[in-house]
Symmetry: C2
């Protein structure tokens, strides 16, 4: 069944798969041009992933960083939004397959499907150690940390409390550093007066990094600063510590079995399955090779951007998997395709202009790398906050996030500390493990 929303206009049809930074920027650049645009996403919202760690650590609500795609694009009459799951691409007949029996024909196809976490062959770890890509992931991590403390509060033996109060973050990139810092602040600052039986300031947060140091994309000076700050905040940072095994409630590293209620995977990503849809050979991370115009070779009319694409800069160096890369590629491609389809102009090559790379460690501590120039500490933190508020879509979100951040800065209180019904916490396994070594009858549960 042709799912193209009616009425079908008589102009070229650009289909965009994915409503993340790249796809949305592309749709916006094509907005109100003489082309027909359909953007497909499995969710009805654009998620501002750089702040997702704040949802996972109870600082923000999902809606604060999720804007309906329809709302963002509604003033462009030529853009349709389809909420659906793409199941494949029929390159020969130029159709995107949606769901079990729907399709949408295209003249140009932009793949902006993003990435998923890479468990490097240990896919069974995924159910125990979620990554941080979706609202559901964030809610699950939030529930796991908070529920762990609730269980510890009800546990009398101090030795049994510790596993419920332990979080392990695997991967010392920007996401891992941000998660570790935010979990440490949540337990040690925000919750420290809430409990009677346990002392949340003794909660353990462990950041594991397989490599020589954390934050490898950043200069060593900034990484050392982040390392020191994390240790000061109570995070135990362990470098050269590749994970050997993950099972429900435990992480094994260097032969040591660490019992942990919350395990977060932040150790690398791979592209979503666009390459297999196109039947092209992908790189090691599953990304689709593209030329300087982001076109996929041998697949006429098909382009890939963001984490889906293995693109390189003018000097042949691979572009990093950052929101700003996806966004710039999306805007470029939208403008280039509009010019091509409206007046036959050939696509110019894409050029990436770095806006600097940032990571936040915690309260009043962030770092910026602008290539030559570097910034760290509270000035970087304020700059980080301003930039991220500015990058959010819509005035209301900016205002709400600003107020919540200001309030948290004043009071040290995270406002979204709710454990929803639906979340499944892997601590059941911790509990089961603990109760085996338990002599007061709980072992018989």
């Amino acid at each position: 069944m042709d799912l193209t929303p009616a009425p079908v206009h008589d102009c070229p049809h650009v289909v965009i798969v994915g409503g993340g930074f790249g796809g949305l920027a592309c749709a916006q650049a094509l907005g109100s041009k003489r082309v027909r645009v359909t953007i497909i996403d499995r969710h009805n919202y654009h998620l501002f992933v750089p702040l997702l760690y704040q949802v996972a650590t109870a600082a923000l609500s999902p809606a604060d960083i999720a804007e309906p795609i329809r709302k963002v694009l509604r003033r462009h009459d030529n853009v349709d939004v389809v909420m659906g799951e793409v199941s494949g691409i029929d390159v020969a007949s130029r159709r995107v397959l949606v769901g079990s029996d729907g399709y949408i024909p295209y003249d140009r196809l932009v793949l902006a499907t993003g990435s998923v976490y890479n468990y490097f062959g240990n896919q069974r770890w995924a159910s125990v150690a979620p990554g941080l890509k979706t609202v559901a992931d964030a809610r699950r991590i939030r529930a796991s940390v908070l529920r762990g403390l609730e269980r510890a509060e009800l546990t009398k033996d101090p030795d049994e409390q510790q596993p419920h109060m332990t979080s392990v973050i695997v991967g010392g990139g920007a996401t891992g550093v941000e998660m570790a810092g935010a979990i440490a602040e949540l337990t040690r600052c925000s919750l420290h007066r809430d409990f009677r039986n346990i002392d949340p300031t003794t909660a353990r947060t462990i950041l594991l990094e397989a490599g020589e140091r954390i934050l490898t994309p950043f200069p060593e000076e900034l990484a050392r600063y982040a390392h020191r700050r994390l240790e000061k905040m109570g995070v135990s940072v362990r470098v050269q510590s590749p994970v050997e095994n993950i099972s429900p409630g435990t992480v094994t590293v260097a032969g040591e079995v660490i019992p942990a209620c919350t395990i977060v995977w932040a150790a690398g990503i791979r592209a979503s399955p666009a390459a297999s849809w196109l039947d092209v050979e992908s790189d090691r991370l599953g990304r689709v090779p593209v030329d300087a115009t982001l076109a996929v070779e041998g697949r006429p009319g098909v382009f890939a951007i963001g984490d889906t694409a293995a693109a390189a800069d003018e000097d042949g160096r691979p572009l990093p998997g950052l929101a700003q890369v996806a966004r710039q590629q999306g805007t470029y491609l939208g403008q280039a395709l509009a010019a091509e389809l409206e007046s036959g102009t050939a696509l110019p090559p894409f050029r990436f202009r770095s806006r600097g790379n940032a990571a936040v460690v915690g309260r009043s501590a962030a770092l910026f790398d602008f290539g030559g120039h570097r910034l760290k500490g509270w000035i970087a933190w304020i700059l980080w906050a301003l930039v991220h508020v500015y990058l959010l879509v819509g005035f209301e979100k900016r205002l709400l996030v600003s107020i919540q951040w200001f309030w948290q800065w004043l009071t040290y209180q995270s406002g979204v500390r709710i454990i929803s019904d639906e979340e499944v916490c892997e601590t059941d396994a911790v509990e089961a493990a603990a109760s085996n070594a338990d002599d007061d009858g709980r072992g018989s549960r």
Copy 2:
């Protein structure tokens, strides 16, 4: 296993089951008194249920109306919070049973367990037509309404679109009226420019009431006003329309089968199972009979408040199931128990003072009944908004809710239009039903 959080103080122990309006008010009144208090709830937060319909209709985020119980009570050193599921009460040994093998001993027990929806013997309708009591209910209803529109947008045949765009609310009390008004506003005002293929202003919202008129607890004049306003907003209000059957995707009333994506149950409540825990005879609505001091007869030291209790005013008229009743009873009982346990003062009888009864119909339309005095229209609406912002716990929530309401009032935009992954939408059944009558191949799915 005794779950009482350590250290165990040597003073009388009041255990409160339920962190709703009644239980929380009781704990607050007992705060910093010379008694030990433990409050048990299955959630870690107090939910401001009167605004839950705004979560269900994408106006607010769950966290805007959910405050962690620990946070509310943390300045009272004598109050412990236990997140757990009460499984029963051992009246003989004065213990509350928690989970499968935990217990908490009490000297005084306050049951404030609230109510659940009453399906009047048709419990199988519960899975199809959720009530509105929990955050999960609200998220599910929100996802159902929004996903229905997304599906309608992808459906070409107008006859097939309508079921996806139809919401039926069963029960014309305050909750039903508020839900119907808010769903109509969401579809007809907030979303009307978002779609291309469908016109959301043609979405149907049907309010079914079995009785002679809606809003029976209110004076007829106010109910007539609400009825007129709802019709003006596009809600089809049908009185004397008892529901005959509910199945996935359809509601049957007066022999007519109405296909509907979203079905909300708001047709009456019954008390949670406290009566069966106590093994006392409950009234028709499952409530525990209590005397003038809210004590349960024949169960020494046990009290019931809020929706759990069948209490009466001085004239013997039953008290309504309102937040203000629960709150006043909680405060009264906390103060009375503190006086009794500290200095042996006998409990005085409880007296309810009505603060007036309110319902909101929609934008600039609410109604207040203060007994003698009545108020309706935009003045009532502003008063309603002020009162509800004031009643929220905490300055931050008040500020965030005020801003969101003001923004929605200015822009007609609901800010929380996200469909989360987890929600299950009953429209799969609608779709299945529709595709049977469908000739383009979808029937073979």
